[in-house]
Point group: C2
């Protein structure tokens, strides 16, 4: 069992829950917009909450999982938490699925 497999499994685990995945996809969409504008993006936790019907503690927990898995970076700005997708992981995932699938 490769160590890389374990790390990858951790990444997928972070995306394996509907609410957490939605959180991440929201962030990913924001990032796309930003890339189009040519700058990196920041997004606050409260904003990510959006239509998800879960409390703040749960969101905090999910964000931590995403960060631990290396999918996002977080940074404090005063009261608020800034989240941004890590491009390296996206690239890695794309390459993983690039070779197959005809």
């Amino acid at each position: 069992m490769d160590r890389d497999t374990k790390r990858l499994a951790r990444v997928f685990k972070a995306l394996s829950h509907p609410n957490r995945l939605q959180l991440f996809l929201n962030l990913l969409d924001e990032s796309k917009l930003d890339l189009a504008r040519g700058r990196t993006h920041d997004c606050f936790l409260v904003k990510l909450l959006g239509d998800l019907d879960i409390g703040a503690p749960t969101v905090s927990h999910h964000v931590k999982e995403l960060a631990d898995a290396g999918l996002i970076d977080t940074e404090r700005d005063g009261k608020q938490l800034i989240c941004s997708v890590r491009p390296e992981v996206i690239r890695e995932l794309r390459e993983l699925f690039a070779a197959a699938g005809k």
Copy 2:
């Protein structure tokens, strides 16, 4: 919460456990070889077991999860179970990560 998000989460959940991910990656590698040879590939469950240190019932369970998530197709051939990666899902995943990541 989108229905598609739930389905995607299910896909990621299927890949979220090291042993199950390894199983899938083995299959994916075999598929790559096969695509290079220009034919579809079959792989038996016993073969997938390989170096993984888990019992047959557990592998059976994992294969079922992968199939339920739509990641692989299974088919019986006499005593043996034939597994093959579903190209559509690979394509879907690739496209999901295609737009971002610079």
